[in-house]
Amino acid sequence: MEDVLVYGLLRGGIYALAAFGFSLVLGVIGIVNFAHGALVVFGGLLTQYLAVKFGVPYAAAMIGGALGTGLLGAVIQRLFVARTFTLEPLMVLVQTFGIATVVTELGTLGWGSEERMLRLKTGLPPGFMLGDTFVPSFDLVVFAVSLVSAAVLFVVLGRTEFGRAIRACRDNRESAQLSGINLGRTFEKTMFLSGTWAGLAGAMFVTLSPVAPYMHFSWTVDSFLVITIGGLGSMLGALVGGLVFGVLSFGASFYAPTIAPAITFGVLLVFLVFRPQGLLGAGPAIRK
């Protein structure tokens, strides 16, 4: 039981990072980005590529991978989503699905379809015992880094003019424009933030588990699940949702590995029917 809790929470930090961007884009631009998982995977593979191919130190590779992914997100927004999203959200689902396919296929062509992982030599002790549970120190470091980057995102959104503009566009697009905010640019910046944090999630995940292009869809679905559990439109909700989802999915695969997906999705259904606003769902004021 403690094992499940500890390991689930450790993974949950990364799920939360991946879900932030998904939630942000859904809240601000009002679209479901089916290419979000592709961004996570892209970030992971780019980081691995930078570190292995060019021998860049991991921290730099992680930042490079994250920013590169953010840039990709902004490009996707400018070239594709911006032309479609005002017309029909349904269309954007299909469009971003297409983008996910293209990104994944190009990634496969460039990097191959195999699973890749980045083992880091940190010189840390292997871990310590917490009660009866062994806590690997590297996982703990990754967890800490994910919490720190979550905090950075909270500060960017909550305390800077940039973040204020994004939240203003989420609350009321028209008033934001009437206040001199460029809507298109803000959406691109939103997508950049979303991509950057998705890339970060990928960059951290690749040090713990293998990543391959075909996994993009499950990352999208998991991000979906995280924000449904945590609550749409709330960054804190995404964090809580990520941690809960980490414990839930780890517990499901630990106790009932054969029907793990059914359990996580069953929980999702319960949420959808009984608590659609999620654990920390935002009030009706900003629910889309």
């Binding site: 939240r167 609350d171 028209e174 008033s175 424009q177 009437l178 905010i181 460029n182």
Partner: protein, 235 residues
């Protein structure tokens, strides 16, 4: 000085909701646009601000053409609109709302402007940490006006500022309008309450079905039998 000529616009190409309107703010401090529901008043304002999907004609601010600019550029050049239903940012605090109004300004300027607005609306100062969505309609209206004033606009457009407010708050808002003009902002006011709109303004335009039917100094319109009959219910 805002000048609009031969303005047509609407939500679908070719279907004009506003059809050939002219307006010239000239030296008038407050200009009101009057008309019944669905006459095209709000669409006209949205057109000036660049929010209509389709528009033709000329909009000039001190000789500078605005009609081809995006909404945020129009706002930056000094035309600010307080939309119908106020349009505050419900999850942002009062302070944050004001900061968004001064988007792009440096921190010290932002601070002095904010202080000015808090002096103008002491009520907002009391509630500066409050989430805008939790405030009363009157407070939100004040916030919306303060937010627009943060940028020191040259033209302030008020769309139905009295809508949905208690009479006492409406009085306050209308008392406020002449005071705003003392700071050099010209006000363009849309109001369904024709009597009030005429009282507060120096010149006025009456529009019906997207066209201007009457225009002139407000005092003359107030005496005009057609206005008295169809809008004021007097004879």
């Amino acid at each position: 000085m805002l000048k609009v000529s031969n303005f047509r616009g609407g939500y679908r190409k070719g279907v004009a909701v506003v059809d050939g309107l002219q307006i010239d703010l000239r030296q008038s401090a407050v200009t009101s646009i009057l008309g019944s529901n669905g006459a095209g008043k709000t669409s006209f304002l949205r057109g000036i601000c660049g929010l209509l999907p389709w528009r033709t004609g000329e909009v000039e601010l001190n000789g500078e053409r605005l009609d081809r600019l995006a909404p945020h550029d129009i706002a930056r050049l000094g035309v600010r609109m307080v939309s119908e239903g106020r349009g505050t940012f419900p999850t942002l605090t009062v302070e944050e709302n004001l900061k968004v109004g001064g988007y792009g300004l440096s921190a010290p300027v932002l601070a002095t402007r904010m202080e000015r607005e808090f002096n103008r609306f002491p009520r907002l100062y009391e509630r500066r940490g409050q989430i805008a969505g939790m405030m009363s309609g009157g407070e939100q209206q004040m916030l919306a006006i303060a937010r627009a004033m943060m940028s020191d606009p040259r033209v302030l457009i008020l769309d139905e500022p009295s809508q949905g407010l208690a009479p006492i708050i409406v009085d306050q808002i209308f008392d406020l309008i002449p005071r705003l003009t003392q700071e050099g902002v010209q006000v363009l006011l849309v109001e369904q309450d024709v009597g009030r709109g005429l009282e507060v303004s120096e010149q006025a335009v009456v529009i019906e079905k997207g066209r201007a039917t009457l225009s002139g100094p407000s005092r003359e319109l107030l005496a005009d039998p057609r206005v008295r009959e169809s809008f004021l219910g007097l004879s």
